[in-house]
């Protein structure tokens, strides 16, 4: 059985108190709980403070482009579907520049886990308003208050046909690790959004602010994460922030469908040219 320390690598340099420490801790715990081998895990990150995560998680890591976590991670998964592939992204990375990929990866139900570290700010670039910042939010990009309605990634995932939709809070690492564990075991696309304070640039959405608004779905009487209408109604509440496993359904995953019947990972294919078969193909051009 692996321990979470098996996934630790080096010391992160995030600001003291940053929610990302909780995210990293939860991911390590989840990987340990599932006894994953670091060699069989690939963590793909976007550009942002969240993007430093895989420098400190002992597994294969790919720090790609801003907003392109999902296509990159999808390529990895499809080339070798035996790998556990997780993306770690931010509210800017996944929900602003990466929104197109987000909807389509959810829709196709590609077997990845996406952790969206939502600090409601662009952390790394020194604190601009993000698509999850609330109307009126002041920052260096909107010094007189944002005029944009914030978006809800979970609602969008639900609308896009998501099969595993969850939210955690980096101030509560235990439950977050639990969600990640389930997400990493899910065959299709799994979303774990994490409410995660940026203590340096966001003085509005603090630990306290989040905590006072959390609504734990497992404590809701009669809540059933298989009921899509309940899930929608829950997410549509404006007063509270639901956390926990909001929705889950079984649905064939993209890689299961497209790789059906293949016994080898694409990446393990024997590449030696099979002359006879190629000759046969060439006949088509005669």
């Amino acid at each position: 059985m692996r321990k979470k320390e098996d996934f630790q690598f080096d010391k992160p340099t995030w600001c003291r108190g940053c929610g990302l420490y909780g995210v990293l801790e939860a991911l390590k715990r989840a990987a340990a709980a599932l006894d994953l081998e670091p060699e069989n895990m690939v963590i793909v990150t976007g550009i942002g403070c969240h993007g430093r995560l895989n420098s400190h998680f002992r597994a294969f890591g790919f720090h790609g482009l801003h907003g392109r976590v999902l296509p990159l991670a999808s390529g990895v998964k499809l080339a070798n579907s035996r790998l556990t592939v997780a993306g770690v992204s931010g509210d800017g990375d996944a929900y602003s520049i990466g929104m197109g990929h987000f909807i389509h990866a959810v829709r196709k139900n590609i077997g990845l886990t996406l952790v969206v570290v939502d600090n409601r700010i662009y952390g790394l670039t020194q604190g601009q308003t993000s698509p999850t910042s609330s109307l009126g939010f002041r920052s260096i990009s909107t010094p007189f208050g944002s005029k944009e309605y914030p978006l809800d990634g979970l609602k969008l995932a639900l609308a896009a046909g998501g099969s595993f939709i969850s939210r955690g809070f980096s101030g509560e690492v235990g439950p977050l690790a639990g969600l990640m564990e389930q997400a990493l075991s899910h065959k299709g696309f799994s979303l774990v959004e994490v409410l995660s304070p940026c203590v340096t640039h966001n003085s509005v959405n603090t630990y306290g602010w989040f905590r006072s608004r959390l609504l734990k779905v497992e404590q809701e009487p009669g809540y059933d994460p298989a009921d899509i209408r309940k899930a929608w109604a829950l997410l549509d509440r404006e007063d509270r922030l639901p956390v926990g496993l909001v929705f889950r359904r079984e649905k064939a995953a993209f890689q299961e469908m497209v790789l059906e019947g293949r016994d080898l990972a694409l990446a393990a294919a024997d590449l030696r040219p099979d002359r006879a078969r190629l000759e046969k193909i060439m006949e088509k051009f005669r």
């Binding site: 296509p71 389509h104 590449l271």
Partner: protein, 591 residues
């Protein structure tokens, strides 16, 4: 020549072409592909040359099909036969008929289309649409009637025509469909015979057809990818690159390959990078605007040292331009575009064999030098069909470069993904390999792959990466020389313009001007030495390319600074070069 079919008719000139003109939606593409195949089976070299609008219906659309005894052709200047679906198109294009040619037009008008001296060409009304409707109940059969008619006019062997059509329909549509189509062909043959006297037609005899293929550049690249072991293809639809995809979509499953349609080109290249990183041989294809959208990930591939292959089939730009027509105006973008300095290899095949071979090479180079490799062609090469000698499958090899096995990894004291080496190439491991754990970084990083930003590391890592551009030179296709070494006139060209240049060269020789040609086949790293050498042996040099600004010209000048004045022969008309364009430029040049 073995004129075994023995049909009577005008002696074949060794070169004959037909222009089929109608509207988008008329099925001209199908007709020309069948005809090209039939011509090939007759032992002739064939070239199709399409001129399609970027519209589904109702706009002028035409194709030239040319048969010749020599390979590597340009777009013909004049054609021997025009076959038009309506008078308007016929009038627009009739200027392309050679003196004495034959024009068939379906139109309802009384008078022949176009003003012409009585003897300039022979004009006939040929009612393919009407016959199709009346005899077969649907206009769809008009193309079979056209094929039959052309069968007669070219003096083709009907059994060959019939067997090509049978092959095309039998499996998918069954015997009954084949039969009715063959009857339509026969009707077309008969109708043409009723119209056109035997002595007016050309009779293409049959030669031996062995070891030859007929296909498009897109298909050759797709086949090359399959042969090279590519098993992952992610792309977004775009003309004129979609045929690569279409071919792979049909042929990959049997080889356990995967084609993924992505939401856009950003996703396509990023997904291919992910798959390549994970160990699959991975590729994407695109054109025009799609290439621009790939610049960001192209730069990542250079920085993160991911082996990926991008096939870019150029079309007319800028912006949406003319999506269905040919141009070579993305050369400098791929050589100099994308932000930052990083190693890249850009290959530009000029023949179908090169399309195939360079694609195989591209996958090897990508893995050997761990960098993005671009296959740069153009619509003319990508979509038009040409005959070619068989691809040499024996030459297909797979070299995965410095990819380590788990055993290799176990033998290492420490694995450094970006180890600084004399040749710039670092060892590579794949996810799932024991001992191969590492970070891949798009930020500047150290040998272990972790972000590091100090000046000393920056300098070392930049030099390491860029060193690969020197190391790889020995494995790149050098420029290819054609023609007489001692000739005073030198052409420098690229891609499918080659055919027109070589043909122009032959004509110029007949007119007393010896020429030679240097075909640039690797655009980057630029083969400066070979180009300088070639130029030093020219008295006059012409760079022939399909764009406005002379992008190849710019590139050459930036790399070799020749003493000789490099002249530009440009064509930015959205049409491939006709040899005549080049001949005119050379003869008109007064220096």
């Amino acid at each position: 020549m073995d004129n075994s079919s023995g049909v009577a008719g005008r002696e074949p000139q060794g070169d004959i072409s037909v222009l089929i003109a109608g509207e988008a939606g008329d099925g001209i593409l199908f007709t020309s592909n069948v005809l090209a195949k039939v011509l090939k089976r007759h032992g002739w070299e064939a070239l199709t040359c399409r001129d399609f609008p970027s519209n589904i219906r109702g706009e002028p659309s035409s194709t030239i099909i040319r048969a010749s005894r020599r390979p590597l052709l340009g777009r013909p200047d004049k054609v021997d036969i025009i076959l038009a679906f309506d008078c308007q198109r016929c009038r627009q294009l009739i200027r392309f008929i050679r003196p004495g040619g034959i024009v068939l037009c379906e139109g309802e008008e009384e008078a022949p289309c176009g003003q012409h001296p009585p003897a300039a060409f022979s004009f006939y009304r040929f009612h393919m649409r009407k016959e199709a409707r009346e005899k077969f109940g649907s206009e769809l059969f008009k193309n079979m009637i056209v094929l039959g008619g052309l069968g007669y006019l070219f003096g083709l062997d009907q059994t060959v025509l019939d067997s090509v059509i049978t092959e095309m329909f039998l499996k998918k549509k069954g015997r009954a469909v084949v039969d009715i189509n063959l009857r339509a062909v026969a009707l077309g043959y008969q109708k043409a015979r009723e119209l056109v006297p035997e002595e007016k037609r050309t009779s293409l005899g049959r030669k031996l057809d062995a070891g030859r293929l007929v296909l498009s550049g897109d298909e050759a690249i797709a086949f090359g990818a399959l042969a090279a072991g590519c098993r992952f293809f992610a792309a977004y639809p775009i003309c004129p690159a979609s045929e690569i995809w279409q071919w792979l979509a049909l042929n990959f499953p049997e080889f356990q390959g995967l084609v993924v349609q992505t939401e856009d080109e950003l996703a396509a290249l990023n997904m291919a990078l992910g798959a390549a990183y994970a160990g699959a041989r991975a590729m994407t294809s695109t054109s025009g605007p799609g290439g621009s959208l790939m610049m960001e990930a192209f730069s990542l591939a250079g920085m993160a040292e991911i082996p990926v292959v991008i096939a870019h089939v150029q079309r007319v730009g800028p912006s949406t331009g003319i999506p269905t027509k040919t141009e070579q105006s993305d050369l400098t973008q791929w050589v100099f575009g994308a932000h930052g300095d990083f190693p890249r290899i850009i290959l530009a095949p000029g023949t179908l064999e090169e399309c195939f071979d360079f694609t195989v090479a591209a996958f090897n180079l990508a893995e050997m030098y761990q960098c993005p490799v671009v296959l740069l062609t153009e619509e003319d090469m990508g979509q038009n069909s040409r005959t070619t000698p068989d691809f040499d499958l024996g030459r297909v090899t797979v070299d995965r470069g410095r990819l380590l096995t788990e055993r290799d990894l176990a033998g290492l004291a420490e694995f450094k993904r970006y180890a600084i080496t004399p040749d710039g190439i670092s060892p590579r491991s794949l996810p799932s390999q024991r001992g191969g754990l590492h970070m891949v970084e798009g930020n500047e990083h150290n040998e272990k792959g972790f972000r590091q930003e100090d000046a000393a590391n920056r300098v070392r890592m930049t030099e390491k990466r860029m060193r690969k551009l020197e190391t790889c030179r020995k494995d790149l296709p050098p420029p290819r020389r054609w023609g007489e070494g001692g000739a005073a006139i030198g052409f420098l060209t690229i891609g499918s313009v080659l055919g027109a240049v070589l043909e122009a060269g032959e004509e110029l020789r007949r007119r007393g001007h010896e020429t030679k040609t240097l075909q640039i086949r690797t655009l980057w790293p630029f083969p400066g030495r070979e180009v300088s050498e070639f130029l030093s042996l020219c008295r006059r040099a012409f760079v022939v390319e399909n764009n406005f600004s002379g992008q190849l010209h710019t590139l050459i000048r930036s790399q070799v600074c020749p003493e000789l004045e490099l002249k530009k022969v440009l064509n930015y008309s959205a049409q491939p070069f006709a040899p005549a364009d080049i001949i005119r430029a050379v003869l008109g040049d007064r220096t």
